[in-house]
């Protein structure tokens, strides 16, 4: 087998094993926590009869391993079980919410990624001078902001000081694409703010790292303009680290989206998750938690695989 292919297959296998172990942790780890699961869900005032019913419903009277494999088998066939609170089919409830979450995160990514690369390149071109310092100062501020704090600053400025948007992102099934886009403008701005800083700083660092190579000096000495040097010679060689940073930040977006959805009451997966943590609805939390974990693991895996593929030393083995 080609060595690159072998590395990629290994990485995919590792990702799958990781996902399997995580599913065990999410399902069985919860039961290893101190205290009785049924008691924790129903609270201290639950009657013994109610506890007994819940145990039977959740199958807590059966061995843990049997239940785990039953749960895993269900998930692999698209059956995520039923919610404790309203007996709804979890897979059905998730359907449209997953789409909404991907729409939000995707829109944020489409704006944040090119912007981060552009700003990072500008900062690297003018390293140590005022454009670099200005960009660094702004990104240092946004990097210290948790999502919900950034969100409320944005809400205050764009709905109160300059009333352009609505503070709640209501997306209905009948809405057109542009209407939906306008509805999610605020959460998208917040998510872009939160991931932009980190992506931009890593792009800058990656390009500056390449700028120290001998061929950059050659390019400078043969009389290319600084921007030509950066775009033609430095950037192509910095692509691998930049792409892997982009992937890692998309993975980070997966978490940011949970909080931002709650802030804007956006009807999607993250808000669904948090609502059901509050209601102590364990089956929903386990199913949605596994989905978030799977997306996160997949994006990290993609970052590694792109890193492998873009490494010329691995592509052309001797």
């Amino acid at each position: 087998m080609h060595p690159v292919l072998k590395l990629v297959v290994q990485r995919i296998a590792l990702g799958l094993v990781l996902l399997l172990i995580i599913s065990v942790v999410i399902f069985l780890g919860v039961e290893a926590l101190p205290g009785d699961t049924a008691q924790a869900i129903l609270g201290q005032s639950a009657t013994p009869q109610a506890l007994e019913n819940l145990r039977a419903e959740m199958g807590l009277d059966q061995p843990a391993l049997t239940r785990y494999f039953h749960w895993l088998g269900g998930i692999l066939t698209g059956d995520l079980g039923t919610a404790l609170t309203n007996k709804a089919d979890i897979a059905k409830s998730i359907g449209s919410k997953l789409g909404n979450t991907l729409f939000l995160a995707g829109s944020a990514a489409v704006i944040a990624v090119p912007l981060a690369i552009l700003l990072g390149t500008i900062a690297a071109r003018y390293a140590g001078r005022w454009p670099d310092k200005l960009i660094s100062a702004i990104t240092l501020t946004t990097i210290s902001l948790p999502e919900f704090v950034a969100a409320y600053f944005v809400i205050f400025f764009l709905t109160q000081v300059f009333p352009i948007f609505q503070p709640v992102s209501l997306v209905l099934p009948g809405m057109g694409f542009w209407e939906k886009l306008h509805a999610i403008a605020l959460p998208v701005i917040v998510l872009v703010m939160v991931v932009l800083a980190h992506m931009m700083r890593m792009t800058r660092a990656a390009i500056l790292n390449v700028m120290q190579s001998a061929y950059i000096e050659t390019a400078e000495l043969k009389g290319l303009t600084p921007m030509q040097v950066v775009w033609r010679h430095a950037f192509p060689n910095a692509i691998a680290p930049v792409v892997s940073v982009v992937m890692l930040n998309l993975a980070y977006l997966v978490v940011g989206v949970v909080v931002v959805e709650v802030v804007f009451s956006y009807n999607a997966l993250g808000k669904y998750l948090v609502d059901h943590v509050t209601k102590r609805d364990l089956p929903v939390v386990q199913a949605v938690g596994l989905i978030f974990a799977a997306v996160y693991i997949f994006l990290n895996m993609a970052a590694d695989i792109i890193g492998i593929l873009s490494n010329p030393r691995l592509r052309h083995p001797k």
């Binding site: 990781l18 210290s144 902001l145 205050f156 997966v254 948090v274 102590r280 938690g289």
Partner: protein, 271 residues
Amino acid sequence: MRIPISALIGLTLTGMFLFVAIFAQWLAPYAVGDSSGAQWEGMSATHWLGTDTIGRDILSRLIFGAQITIFVALASSILSFSLGAFLGFTAAVQGGWIDQGLSRLVDLVMAVPSLIIALVVLTIMSPNLIVLILIMGLLDSTRVFRLSRAVAADIAVMDYVEAARLRGEKGTWVIFREILPNALSPLVAEFGLRFIFAVLFISTLSFLGLGIQPPLTDWGGMLQENKIGITQGKSAALLPAFAILSLAISVNLVADWILTRTSSLKGGRGG
């Protein structure tokens, strides 16, 4: 020694926050749950920063919020730090299956976002202070583990560590007397960053209603209670957000300074 102006600002503000947190009971003009005014009063002599959505003094709640936020964040970062550093050093010094086992375990925990793990755990456990500190501390110790293992692995191959081993010192001696003193400066800067991370983490959990529970309050919880005010144009509702931001930035400035100082001590660019 010249302290740069940014670090000076950071040190002053961090010191101020710590002072307020320690002496909250004496500094706060009102009790934490005291509805001493009308809804959304403006700034006045009796309520310096106005009142919140149910008429409680915002300044007092900010002061008590500082105490809880800083206490929980400090406790969890001390936990993550001592645990992560100890295990990281042990892994680097002992090597072999201890290193392999711990490293794979950390890889596993870090393969899932901390917030998702915390949410799953908080479905079953009630969020009292001890549970919150334990969850945050344990989850974050993975990051400290990776750093301290890397730092210690560099030190463990030095001649003086070799010398200590050859004269028959035990593992604990090597960890505490040879490696720890030499790993201290990068770890101190990391402590600042872990502390900020803990502040943001507890604020996020409280904001989601899963962190600090009433009658106690922290900044994240305050923002959540008063969020309706923000959409009504009450700028006082943004004060907890400013508090979180300024604490995070000031600790960041101090950590940055420590980091540049220690790397310049090592000989700077050439090394």
